[in-house]
Amino acid sequence: MESEKIVINKERCKACEICICFCPEHLLELSGEINGKGYHPVMISDQSKCTGCGICALVCPDLVMTVYKTC
């Protein structure tokens, strides 16, 4: 958990790929799962590489991410 910088609320994700495009570390991608809305929600490939920059949350139109940052 120490390393979990972002929490993804999969059910809210609409797979618009905007966060994928903007993550500076290229950590995000669509998963193979299907959520209740019928979308493949976003997943993070490697939490440890996440800087917690919060850009994914900033650009996401559907409030999917919550970002934690070590001060």
Partner: protein, 245 residues
Amino acid sequence: MKLTAAYPESLTGKEFHYCPGCTHGLIHRLIAEVIDELEIREKTIGVAPVGCAVLAYEYFNLDMQEASHGRAPAVATGIKRVHPDRVVFTYQGDGDLASIGTAEIIHAANRGEKISVFFINNAVYGMTGGQMAPTTLTGQRTTTSPLGRSVESSGYPLKISELLSILEGSVFIARVSVHNPAHIMKAKRAVKTSFQYQLDGKGFSLVEFLSTCPTNWGMKPVEALRFAGEEMTKYFPPGTYKEVE
């Protein structure tokens, strides 16, 4: 551990019905975050439009009124005159504000009605399935401009921020875009400035958002952001158009 992005209290938590990648949701969030930051949730009353954001009253965790198409500024006027100490905002699309509601927005601005207007310019009528809006770009194809908007028949896209800036009652007018993180941050600052003007009792303010409609533009969401950032901003330059001391 510090939380840099949490769910704003001024949103109900209900999932948005917007299409994937539609920036309506993003703009809702920005407004809600600012309301939280200013701690004015309990004294804010919002007015929802007729347009894709028609259900905004289900998303904002505030007192809300649903206005008829285009009349949100009149409805907001009614509310603000009754409760001058509350914060009143409208959230309106380009069909709503720049077409059917032209008289209402011009006169609310000219009266210097002390409200904040959030104007979501996505260059199209989203909700009704992609008809031409007054802000549709020249040559842009929509269901009612199937060969592209013709200047000869429909004129040039209407520049609301420029127009309202020349009215003496407006105190803060800004056009912002939400196509990338830097612009999103600027957009949020503009929302805050607008509310601050209202809290200071100064006059009418409006923030125009360049917003996307991937569905009716026939684009992928990321493509749509690019279009907003590259094409729309050419004709609709972001910036602060008016800021009265």
